[in-house]
Symmetry: D2
Subunit: 321 residues, 4 copies
């Protein structure tokens, strides 16, 4: 029997790939359904459905839908690329909203993270761009279409700055203003530095902030908050030891392809080297979480995509038009 995998990624898609590789599976995992779609030359959408307990245990994620949108070369994105990406996001988000809420049900958008830490600032930055309507529907309903959905938005800060668990803050607000659904934006860890601020994962199963970087906070989900929670996660950091561990795999792979095959290397590559690498690198400096030099521009472009996508998806299409 195969041991539990330490995935070190928040992305369901990466976990499914790791599970298949570790178990030498050619076909799909039992209890998982996957489909892929190309949306033009730079955007690709993958949908991973966790169907049952078996699928959930395999990749360590609850039953539900996980949609991954990968956008290539976001750093040099044009206005058109950003608009196109926002439309792909809006389309997927609209489907999820439709499955869990009615068109005029109130939505609260939550931007997790610390705006003073560049790779963690995406959530607060998106909140500043959300088209909130709840107060206008209360104080001046006549200026809006009667189809307008009440939308509100909050950026609750992080435990280190507030001293309060995010769940406690949100529980208080949800119990007091009674939205019908949450959309929670958070920065994630991925295994791939190429995915940094270039990938969006949508999930209808809620979120556990900090899970990807071993600094786990209390879960935000229907079971803790009492309403559906759509999580919109964007990888912005990678653990350095993961990068090096993966780097060694690729390196060994290449040595072997150069027909310098070697029994020892074969054995080496089949093992999970993460703990070994982490232990080996424990001298201090490798125990770090890194982000690309260009993170400021990546976050700025991703902020536009996410804010526009949410603004389009939360209101009826004729209002946005």
């Amino acid at each position: 029997m195969f041991d539990k995998i330490n995935f070190r990624t928040d992305l369901a898609l990466e976990r499914r790939d790791l599970y298949k590789k570790a178990n030498n599976l050619d076909k799909e995992i039992d209890g998982i359904k996957t489909e892929e779609e190309e949306n033009g030359p730079r955007i690709r959408t993958s949908r991973v459905k966790v169907l049952d307990k078996n699928g959930a245990e395999a990749i360590g994620k609850p039953v539900g839908s996980y949609i991954t949108i990968d956008i290539q070369k976001l750093k040099v994105a044009t206005e058109e690329d950003i608009q196109e990406s926002a439309e792909v996001l809006a389309k997927e988000l609209r489907v999820l909203l439709g499955e869990h809420a009615n068109p005029k049900d109130e939505i609260l958008v939550v931007g997790l993270g610390n705006q003073y830490v560049t790779p963690d600032a995406l959530g607060p930055k998106v909140i500043n761009e959300i088209d909130v309507t709840r107060h206008i529907l209360t104080y001046m309903p006549q200026v809006l279409s009667s189809e307008t959905r009440p939308v509100s938005a909050i950026s609750p800060g992080v435990l280190g700055t507030t001293g309060i668990e995010t769940l406690e803050i949100l529980k208080g607000i949800v119990d007091n203003i009674h939205p019908k659904m949450l959309i929670v934006i958070d920065a994630l860890a991925s295994r791939s530095i190429e995915r940094i601020s270039s990938t969006i994962q949508l999930a209808d199963t809620g979120i556990t902030p900090g899970a990807g970087v071993g600094n786990t906070r209390k879960e935000l989900s229907q079971s803790t908050l009492g309403i559906p929670v759509i999580a919109l996660g964007i990888p912005t950091v990678v653990e350095l030891a993961t990068l090096i561990s993966d780097g060694i795999d690729i390196f060994i792979d290449r040595l072997q392809k150069k027909s310098e095959s070697n029994e020892y290397l074969n054995k080496l590559q089949q093992e999970d080297k993460y703990e070994e690498v982490k232990e080996a690198l424990k001298v201090g400096e490798y125990n770090m979480i890194v982000t690309p030099k260009e993170i400021d521009d990546l976050i700025e472009n991703m902020k536009d995509i996410v804010a526009r996508g949410i603004n389009m998806a939360t209101q009826p299409e004729n209002i946005n038009g």
Copy 2:
């Protein structure tokens, strides 16, 4: 009988002065007690106590204590000026905290305002500098002194960005995490451009956000939140019509002193010219709220004073020392 005065200032001290001037009072207002203190060459503290209903009606402020700390030349403040000002603030704040809470009662510090609008960014900026202890007392109590008070901090955003009344957000959080007292930081309007980001008003009566600029939000006070609310208000804007109305008074005053006395001007000066001026200037552009060119530096220095003052006052002196 004297008509109600439109004070157009949030500062109790300015209201008391305006009331006395409008009613030609030489002695103190009945129901008000005032004292002044010089704290070195640049800092002056004034304490206005509203003792009863008569005092409250005179200046339109509830019964309670209002402490005004004026700091001269804050724009060019040195590190020593800032530290000295923070200590004066801490001393006054400690007295207020002692009157309304026990030394280890949990305090939630709230920074109102919009960090993307320079004159409204003080609250959120202060929150980022507050020494929060609540989560450390929960997760790692051994690293702190046993006398440490639990302090948490939040910057809830503004109605225009969140779609939610600040009272609703705070009510939810207070009901869920149960602090014993709030300290609420807000940007105010004053009548005096010299006071912009150079004056701190402390009050134990709560606060009505936006009251100074005619954009009133729901009151944050013991009666709405169920716990004592210390308000820490800093003027950062002035209404232009108020400035001009006051400017005309000073101008007429000077003309008269130059022995160009004139019956008509005398009459003019006794009237409240604000509505007249506002009506006269209604062409559009004068209907504005202004702030000094140097507002960025003023806010930065005031942020340091307020954050340090709160950090000193909320913990026992031996912890800070």
Copy 3:
């Protein structure tokens, strides 16, 4: 004969209006030619040509072209308003560029101001958005159209931060890299708070930084730098004493219209009250330069207009298309 007017505004259009009012002129000033154009419901363009010495002396501005573009309600501008305004600016700028340089002559765009002072940050912010081509034409010419004009951009800082006069910095750079023309962006003072970050003045006569606020630096112009200097000035501050002086005029005007005519007021209004007002208000606090509360948003929108306008105007239309 009429005394010299202290205009206290950098805008040629405001100066021409003040001169006409002060001299009770119905017709145009001798030596000045003016035309106006509506560019849609929100944008108005005025062109003041100073034709000769007489016109130059009247308004205290050198012979040359001064174009004022006023944009209404910029604070709440939509993406379309911004694009439309940028196109109006580009059209006017293209005419000026065509009069003083050839299509492929190198242009250096200079953003004056201090990015850490919100009302003074426009120049540095625009520079960050300029499409520079000079280095690409040097190192990778093949990726650009052969019609591309070399454009470079610099934000030299302010005297208080650098210790160096802007003219000295620019003289050194111009003598070393030899552009054929400068476009200099600067924040100006106007008399009208309504014009703050809502008006663009284009002039082909250079600029004297700080002139509008009595803090004059060395002139940047063809005579000091040896090449044509197009100045692109945007009012972002107003002197408070000017506002009050103008406010008193409007107030007296209204009193008189209410048939409360009065010999003394009539006399008062004909005089220049600025020095009187400034003296009267000298107690300290009125000696200030102010900016609207909304200056952050105004600067942000104006930055987009100016950067796009310059980017369109400096390259041939088919390249932008």
Copy 4:
């Protein structure tokens, strides 16, 4: 004979260590002199002197002095740590200044980098904190001590934003205002992620911007600018392939220590794996430059150290006192 090493670091100290390791040298390199000093528990200073052509060729750095100040745990630095580090920097810098200029010779401080890219923003941020005196000595000499040195400061921007080589900008300014010495602040690449924004390298040999990340600009030095150039470099990024290559070495090392010795691995470790690794990882995503998640805080603390250190070192000690 040993082949040329590709050091992939700007730090002379790291190059010296790599050279010694690659050549299995126990004693010091011929033509290099090194000394170390502990400055309290958190700060260590190393001085590498390149004495002659042999030393220069060994480590690929010109003859001159290279001083490395390593500060541990800068991310969680207290105010005292920062002040102490600034004093260590000031002491070293004073020696270098004394060797190359007289006490009242004018100094121009240059902050290289792009303030909108967090890991590249150190130079511009420092410039904003430099105590410039040149303009005061020109316009109001009476307010300063007669011993004051003229200091000016500029942040010229980067080629991608200005379109102009930094050397061209500085050449123009130096030729026009004639300082006697430059201090140039730049972000460097190091091999060690632990050194990111925790190490300062001082050198009296000038600097080649971008050299550490394979994006070389024109050299700034006495030979190109005609005056001595003190370079103050701070590592803020690491190349990912370098990290992984070093990580593989450490990993193999550990495997061998676990007595799993292996002929093949021995051979592997003696080779320079960088090109191999870079080639192997060429799939795209590993071809990246990374920075720690905490870069914002690191840059903020380092900015305070560098600005204070320069401000102390450029003026006589009695003026700072």
